[in-house]
Symmetry: C2
Subunit: 325 residues, 2 copies
């Protein structure tokens, strides 16, 4: 993986992706005790940064591959992104999704024209189902993070951050990133290394799913003990990826971990002070910026809000926890 | 009022306001049956476009006036905007607000350092209270819409729309605008007249508060029969303003009216498909774009989302009305 691949992805994505602007709120700065600039990728097409990687990967496929169709596995954000990007390439898509994924994610993916295969996360392997489908039907698999073209697409977030940070006069800062398998983090880290070396990528994860923080601390890939339950459905990858981990190990600062409750509070803060809809997974980095006051997070800090695909019931649950507004 | 005043306001606001980007959603286009581009002013500082007009007006005041302090009346969006802009000019502010305004608006205005005077909308005149305060304490009144510098500030929304529409290749379109007293609409209309004459401003109002639509149709200022109840608290002005109406009469297309229920559905659409938090008043123009399918609204249409300051309970109420997502 290198910066050239990210810059080439940026060219393919030009006019397709929405260049999300850095945003700020004086109240949020007060709450965090530091200046915060947020990169609202919840405003990206299909409601998360995943559209960048999906479009980047699909736009590199040869016509014959597109004609046969693609398959992906995802709890719902990569799913919708693949569904839309496939549709835009006149390519059929099959998505393997957990049966307990948020309803909005399943419904939206289906509406975008994908064939959905539901599976039971407690009993089945989504990779096995996808590989079997690929075998039987001649489909091409687009992995959610361990794919160079996916990482290159997510890295375009980093190119935009580098550019905007400069226009805000920010040369040194931590860039906090919600982290599942590490596709977004490693892509951003590579882009920052090349274009804004004073900015440092840092992973943010929910408690109980802190595989990347532990992997970075121990210098080797660690796994999560459980992969069930948890409100942060979008970032419950079993471990950092084989492609993403070496990049994160080389470039990222120590990983940050927040509680699920802190993620829900960050959703409420985004509702009130940014007028943005975040899903729990998409609020984890903001939670780190808001609640890790005593740690070594920089001031200013740049925070990537990675997604906003949330069921109304979960959103209402978050709104109900915080009555002090 | 002229375009020069708007361009001068833009200079004063440079580096202060957030240049909200035009956004789109393929799903929203499908739902509306037309291409929609939204201007998300809910993302503006203090959660509504009002910050533009407030900063524009306060930044023109002489130092002696700033030293004495200002007074404003508002259901909450102009209030917060005045509070923040006054704070930024080291100027004290008093805000006259209805006691039944959304709690977020009252609390946020107070936290921004303003002195709050609550009044009873059914029994008292906010203008009288403000004029009395101005008299007693030597304060300067900043009206919510019938003030040239306020209109000039709101007009900067129109300058940005003109610029962005051009970059999207849009030369002819209706620009739908949530309308209370007409400050935002008249400012945008003037900016479009100068910089994008193929774009036409159109007012959008909730049923029962359609004073502007009726005024435009009859060619004279009409009033609302009631000014109580109603979920669209931010746009319940009694009538178009003396300054704003002649501008709207000269430049705007026919006014559009939607039901409150349609405004709530538009809030839900913005939640799902734009990941934006809107208040009912801020969703009225989107409701017109979504539900006025058979009328003469243009394709494409540009929609100004004017604000997002909403109590969690009202937001949860809106989410509960629409189970089909």
């Amino acid at each position: 993986m290198n910066i050239k691949q990210i810059k080439e992805a940026a060219k393919r994505l030009h006019g397709r992706t929405f260049s999300t602007p850095l945003m700020s709120s004086t109240v949020l700065n007060e709450l965090a005790g530091r200046r915060i600039l947020v990169k609202p990728e919840c405003l990206q097409h299909t409601g998360s940064f995943k559209y960048r990687g999906a479009f980047s990967a699909i736009s590199k496929l040869p016509k014959s591959t597109l004609a046969n169709g693609i398959v992906a596995y995802s709890s719902g954000n990569h799913a919708q992104a693949i569904a839309l990007a496939a549709q835009q390439h006149n390519c059929s898509s099959v998505i393997v999704m957990p049966h307990d994924a948020p309803k909005v994610k399943i419904n939206r993916t289906r509406r975008l024209g994908s064939e959905i295969k539901l599976y039971d996360r407690a009993k089945q392997s989504r990779e096995n189902i996808a590989f079997q489908l690929a075998d039987e039907r001649g489909l091409t698999i687009i992995k959610p993070y361990d794919d160079p073209m996916v990482i290159a697409g997510q890295g375009t977030v980093g190119l935009e951050i580098a550019l905007e940070a400069e226009s805000h006069g920010i040369k040194n800062a931590d860039v906090l990133i919600c982290c599942g398998g590490g596709g977004l983090t490693s892509g951003i880290a590579l882009a920052l290394e090349a274009n804004a070396p004073g900015l440092r990528a840092r992973t943010c994860e929910p408690e109980g799913f802190d595989d990347t923080a532990r992997s970075l601390a121990k210098g080797k890939i660690c796994h999560n003990e459980k992969l069930l339950e948890g409100v942060c459905d979008a970032i419950m990858a079993p471990s950092p990826g084989k492609l993403t981990f070496p990049i994160m190990q080389r470039l990222c600062g120590p990983g940050l971990v927040v509680s699920e409750n802190q993620a829900l509070h960050a959703m409420v803060a985004a509702f009130h002070h940014l007028k943005l809809v975040l899903e729990p997974s998409g609020a984890v980095a903001l939670a780190a910026a808001l609640f890790h006051k005593q740690t070594s997070i920089s001031d200013p800090a740049i925070v990537v809000l990675s997604g906003g695909n949330v069921d109304p019931s979960m959103f209402a649950k978050a709104l109900a926890i915080d009555k002090n507004f």
